[in-house]
């Protein structure tokens, strides 16, 4: 029992110690952002590898999620003769919830793990130390552009995911199941609120992008510089990001939609 308590205390301290270190790390990263804005080429390269290369998986997943939503929603709605509302059902689920959350999870798996592995390998092969000795601060040159790229990409990817999903729902609902095309769009326009739904969804995706990218770059920078350390850090990025996104989603949803 005592042993167990001690173990609990130790991991508690470990957790807060890591939280402190990663917060300091975040502050240093933010201090590097002005420099990134002055050198847009660094940012563009990262937007390409973090954002653009994540697009295929986001588009394909969004399409399927939208199609499944339409299929499921139709079966429920048709019992109440409310299949005209299919557009609203799909759009609200997408914009409020699935867009930000699923995109966040996919983003952590695709872009976050790649960021951690890349930064971790740079550390393990002394590239970061080498930069420091060339009087180039890796926080500015390596970390800050990657962080900013993730922060910018994530909301855009989430919007793309939702948009594609709505078209996927349209394809199944209108194209295959025969829901009225006009009703699909008109009800959606009438019931989806720009501020209450779309903007809140975007706020969520910004928060998830922030957290997932922060975790990814920190875990990379904090890697134990061996090949085993890099693989562990990569796993941690995916696990911690998923956990953080889902927990944060609950908090944000409670704040935004529960009154």
């Amino acid at each position: 029992m005592l042993e167990w308590l001690r173990e609990l205390g130790r991991s508690g301290i470990g957790f807060f110690e890591k939280l402190g270190r990663s917060s300091l790390f975040l502050l240093k990263t933010l201090a590097g952002l002005p420099g990134v804005i002055l050198r847009p080429r660094l940012l563009i390269a990262q937007l390409l590898s973090v954002g653009v290369l994540s697009m295929p998986i986001i588009v394909v997943s969004g399409l399927f999620v939208g199609m499944v939503l339409a299929l499921q929603g139709y079966n429920t709605l048709v019992d109440f003769g409310a299949e005209e509302s299919l557009g609203v059902a799909v759009a609200l689920s997408m914009v409020r919830e699935l867009g930000p959350v699923v995109t966040g999870l996919l983003f952590a798996g695709r872009a976050g793990s790649a960021l951690t592995a890349e930064i971790g390998l740079m550390k393990a092969t002394e590239q970061l130390a080498g930069m420091e000795m060339m009087a180039v601060d890796p926080m500015h040159r390596v970390i800050a552009p990657r962080f900013l790229a993730g922060f910018i990409s994530m909301p855009l990817l989430a919007l793309m995911f939702s948009a594609v999903g709505i078209y996927g729902g349209h394809f199944v609902g209108v194209g295959l199941l025969g829901v009225d095309e006009g009703a699909y769009w008109a009800q959606m326009q009438a019931k989806v609120d720009l501020h209450g739904d779309v903007v809140n969804g975007i706020i969520k995706s910004i928060a998830f992008g922030w957290v997932a990218t922060w975790i990814a770059v920190f875990e990379g920078y904090d890697t134990v510089p061996t090949s085993e350390g890099v693989s562990r850090a990569t796993t941690r990025t995916v696990v911690y990001s998923a956990f953080a996104i889902l927990a944060l989603d609950f908090v944000l949803t409670a704040l935004m939609f529960g009154d």
């Binding site: 390998l121 740079m122 092969t125 002394e126 590239q127 130390a129 080498g130 930069m131 420091e132 000795m133 060339m134 009087a135 180039v136 601060d137 040159r141």
Partner: protein
């Protein structure tokens, strides 16, 4: 106390280390080390594997903080420098890492151009000329378009050398420059280090355990072991040393005062206590 006159005679030592103490956890790496690196000379620091040669270079470069003692580079106390001052000092130091530490996402050319692009606003045509000159010096001008993954270990080290001299530093630190070089490139590298030192007026610090090559080009040698300087002098002086320790190391004898084994409990007992 510090004489700030800029004449060379007033500052004959570029790096001055006094009473250096550094420990990693329980393990003491340096226990009272005094070193002087004279300006314009090639100074070697030798010692068996694991004595802390790489650690010493990192201390001089300000990447590690000593637990006690002073490290002075060109009149500045490295451990006390703020970030900006430290970075300013590092621009004048080149360091060749044991692994090369090339940026893996950039081809050879861009690796050598990296410090120039980061620290100068030279036009691209001039950067090109400078990079080609540095690559020519290490014999790899033809390899400019290769990716670091396509280089052998020895080639990577030479590219890293070209990069380290890109900004024309006042001093350059070589961490094991000779490992992984074939006899031809080894000879070329030995000549090159000497040539760079003399023509560019550099100060060179070579960390190595290759006795032959190192004695061939050094003006002065420090031998460190178990946290202390155990011998020092010009190559000739060290050749005639009466310290058993230094003789064993310089001549590469397996038996002598230097243990080949990492500290361990008694072998027999260890085996019997299965």
């Amino acid at each position: 106390m510090q004489d700030t006159a800029t004449s060379d005679t007033a500052h004959e030592t570029l790096v001055k280390i006094r009473g250096l103490y550094f420990a990693r956890g329980e393990r003491v790496i340096f226990d009272g080390v005094d070193l002087d690196i004279p300006r314009g000379k090639v100074t070697a620091i030798m010692g068996p594997s694991g004595t802390g040669k790489t650690t010493l270079l990192r201390l001089i470069g300000g990447q590690l903080q000593p637990d006690a003692g002073s490290i002075e580079v060109d009149g500045e106390q490295v451990p006390e420098l703020g970030r900006a001052a430290l970075y300013r000092l590092r621009r004048r130091m080149g360091m060749l890492f044991q692994s090369g530490a090339l940026l893996t996402d950039l081809p050879v050319f861009d690796n050598v151009a990296f410090p120039l692009r980061e620290h100068t606003r030279l036009p691209e045509s001039m950067i090109r000329d400078l990079v080609l000159m540095k690559l020519q010096a290490v014999g790899l001008r033809g390899a400019r378009d290769l990716q670091p993954a396509e280089l052998s270990g020895g080639m990577a080290r030479r590219v890293a050398l070209a990069r380290a001299i890109a900004l024309d530093p006042m001093m350059i630190m070589y961490d094991e420059p000779f490992t992984g070089q074939d006899p031809i490139s080894m000879a070329a590298l030995v000549q090159l280090i000497r040539l760079l030192n003399d023509t560019l007026g550099l100060t060179s610090i070579i960390v190595s355990h290759d006795v032959q090559e190192t004695t061939a080009i050094s003006d002065y040698i420090y031998v460190i072991s178990q946290g202390k300087v155990v011998g020092q002098g010009t190559p000739e002086e060290l050749g005639k040393t009466d310290s058993d320790w230094v003789r064993q190391f310089m001549q590469g004898l397996p038996d002598g005062p230097v243990p080949f084994h990492y500290p361990a409990p008694d072998y027999r007992e260890d085996l019997l206590n299965a």
